[in-house]
Symmetry: C2
Subunit: 461 residues, 2 copies
């Protein structure tokens, strides 16, 4: 009875751990039947967690003890980057069988991680029908509806009755990704309606589907971008969305569980870009691996920094005469960098959310320029006053203040304009990442500052 | 037949626009019946899009033409920050009726946006039962399971047969948030199992639920953090998750559509922190509104920058003698800022994803220190060589190289340590945002640089 007083979650975790240990014991002692029974009782995601923690020896046992479709369930739940290694460990025939048993969209994701050669060899020894399906899906461009859709859906005809549809549902249920929506086709196999399982259950058994189906069906074209699709799921609270070709033939469906992954992927992409890190830079890499991923960026930025240094070098004479100017270099460059990053972040988030179309983008740039004018004027005024009282030098205050103002306007503009231009020119906007914008703004702001200082030199000395 | 050749999406958009215009005409001409028929034929999200685009005059018509539960559907789909304004426009009795008709979790979200006074007055005139439910939910802390769960779920008893369960489902369907999971309770109303609608459909009608239900049920405690819950949805592909108290009584369920919003919210939070912008900084704000949101941060950073300037000021004598030192200030500060942001981003993403527990955090900090050592050594070596050939000054190259190396180690360490410490000390980690870390690293790197330069002054002149 003691147990009853434990918090629900603690109870759950204790049971979970005990079960895990038991499965591990049975596997290590090669008690095949016990292992199978207890392992298969775990949620597929937990099975995958267990699997990746095992030694190679134990993994080989798992390959031997489980059937291809049981192994497929595990593989689906493993981080994609890690799967090819496991398929290399397996006997190629087993690997091909496992791939054949997966939903085609998941198999395609794994193929996308493999070398060309491996893909071809697996496709040759795989089950013919599954291979055809996968080859078909492999054609769709990455990050489009076609690449994330599944072809395992329930389709019915509008002339069927609800009773017939329910019968078909029972037959299709084991294979379909979702049975909560039934897609209704006309005699030309065009998508004409949708029926939720909810509607089906409450409808009279003899009704024709065309009478109960909803014709207010939202579908996406097979080439639509996955980020826009995620947005639709969020707005419309869909559990699944049909994918059609330009003639409105049903090609597949996208389910909400895949959208959760898309959202994570897209958010992580924006976040990584802003920080100038690789999306694969994970806390569990080794230091050397992490350094390797970050160094390319840092070296580029180092050389941009050397360029900045050589620019300042042009003003060495000015600096020699008025050394105090150097004091404000980090302040001006830093402020330009910070405002630029703010503007960049707002623009990137807006582009991701599809917050604006072409017309809206121009508006954003104009708005950012005005925002830069306001923040620049305020910050410029503040620093002028501070420097006047601190250094008792009205003119130095004026130079720094005006430089801050000009830098903030340009930096804000650059932060919003660069990603929008990249997007427009279809250049990979990864180039417009945070550190890059920051470095560009460093350079511009320093040019403004030293340009002004050199021009008004006579007032400063 | 021409139409058939249009792309599916274009066809859809044309129809959509025509329908929208028709609805607008009917509303403006006060054709109540036509308006009702066509408007209610739109998806609730589209209804909300239509609604927010209307003039106040037309909005008042909508309040008059629609029933409270029809209005509730619209209000649920509007951006939360905007809803209180609409409730102020409505007659308070109508507003109260609309709030009573909503799922309780959505009403709570809206109440969280209203002033205390408004909340109290609505709760007093609302339907008693709905008000009780809402008061109950309002007690749960924001961003926990309790605050995002709904209490409209389908619960059945383990002694019932599948036929009885199906019957109950048909009755509960109109109100329940999801009918795709049935939660099975024992005689003490504790959660003991779950049954998907899929299982129910394929099961024999006379079977007892306890024989077909799954006991492998995953539930979360009512106080669990919403970010961890989103992670569970992603990992386990749930459509809904039950929420229980510490005695395992079923309190509510969380559905995947709410999780999509949570994921967007959490991703936006991390992203905004990294850029030092407010989460409410949206592309459709006015320039003045945007400037107001960004200025507080910029002013803080300005004063931190002034502090940096005063630090460099301490080394004015050094600068006076060796003006060339100033050239490398932006390079060193910039590199420190960039590596710090990289480390920060990896740490923040790790903390968000729950990638590591306490032990893993120490490991991360150590790993970041080593990563900093590697990147610092490489960048330091590169810059030394470049400066040697460029300025023909071995010692200047040495000073800058060692400063870069030391700065990169410290900056990487700071980038990972600060957010982890904040998280540990339960301080709002918003303080550890990108610009803040960058500025701290500016200061540290400049101190290292000028400290070294001043110590080895005699070699430089």
């Amino acid at each position: 009875m003691e147990e009853k007083h434990l918090k629900y979650e603690e109870q759950y975790e204790e049971k979970y751990k005990a079960h895990w240990d038991k499965v591990y014991e049975d596997l290590s002692n090669e008690l095949t039947d016990n292992f199978r029974e207890e392992f298969l009782d775990m949620h597929p995601y937990d099975q995958s967690l267990f699997f990746i923690e095992q030694s190679k020896e134990n993994r080989m046992r798992i390959y031997a003890y489980l059937s291809p479709d049981e192994l497929a369930e595990i593989m689906i739940n493993i981080e994609l980057d890690n799967t090819p290694a496991y398929f290399k460990e397996m006997n190629p025939r087993l690997g091909a069988m496992v791939l054949s048993e997966m939903p085609a969209d998941d198999a395609v994701d794994i193929f996308n991680e493999m070398d060309k050669e491996e893909v071809v060899s697996f496709l040759t020894i795989m089950d013919k029908e599954a291979a055809e399906e996968i080859k078909h899906l492999l054609h769709y461009e990455e990050k489009t509806a076609g690449s994330i859709m599944t072809t395992e859906f329930v389709a019915v005809y509008k002339s069927q009755t609800t009773e017939q549809a329910m019968q078909q549902l029972k037959e299709d249920a084991p294979d379909a990704e979702t049975i909560y929506y039934l897609y209704v086709l006309d005699e030309d196999k065009r998508l004409v309606g949708v029926l939720s399982l909810r509607d089906l259950i409450v409808a009279d058994e003899k009704t024709k589907l065309e009478e109960v189906m909803s014709e207010k069906i939202v579908a996406v074209s097979v080439a639509k971008d996955q980020e826009e699709i995620a947005q639709m799921f969020r707005d419309y609270d869909f559990l699944a969305l049909p994918v059609v070709d330009f003639q409105n033939h049903l090609l597949g469906i996208i389910t909400v569980d895949d959208i959760l992954d898309v959202m994570e992927e897209e958010a992580s992409e924006d976040f990584s870009k802003l920080a100038g890190i690789s999306e694969t830079d994970r806390p569990n890499d080794t230091a050397l691996a992490a350094a390797k991923k970050r160094l390319p960026w840092l070296i580029i930025l180092l050389f941009l920094g050397i360029f900045t240094a050589s620019l300042i070098g042009q003003f060495e004479e000015t600096l020699d005469q008025v050394a105090v100017l150097a004091i404000f270099i980090p302040l001006i460059a830093g402020m330009a960098g910070n405002t630029g990053t703010q503007a960049l972040a707002v623009a990137v988030r807006g582009l991701s959310n599809g917050d604006y179309e072409n017309q809206g983008k121009l508006r954003l740039v104009l708005r950012e320029a005005t925002t830069g004018l306001i923040t620049g004027t305020v910050c410029g005024a503040v620093i002028s006053v501070v420097i006047f009282f601190w250094k008792d030098d009205l003119f130095l205050g004026f130079i720094v203040g005006v430089s801050i103002m000009a830098s903030l306007i340009v930096a804000t503009l650059a932060g919003s304009l660069v990603p929008i231009l990249m997007d427009r020119l279809k250049i990979d906007p990864a180039v417009a990442s945070g550190p890059f914008i920051t470095t560009i703004n460093d350079i511009i702001s320093i040019l403004i500052y030293f340009g002004m200082a050199t021009s008004f030199m006579s007032y400063l000395t």
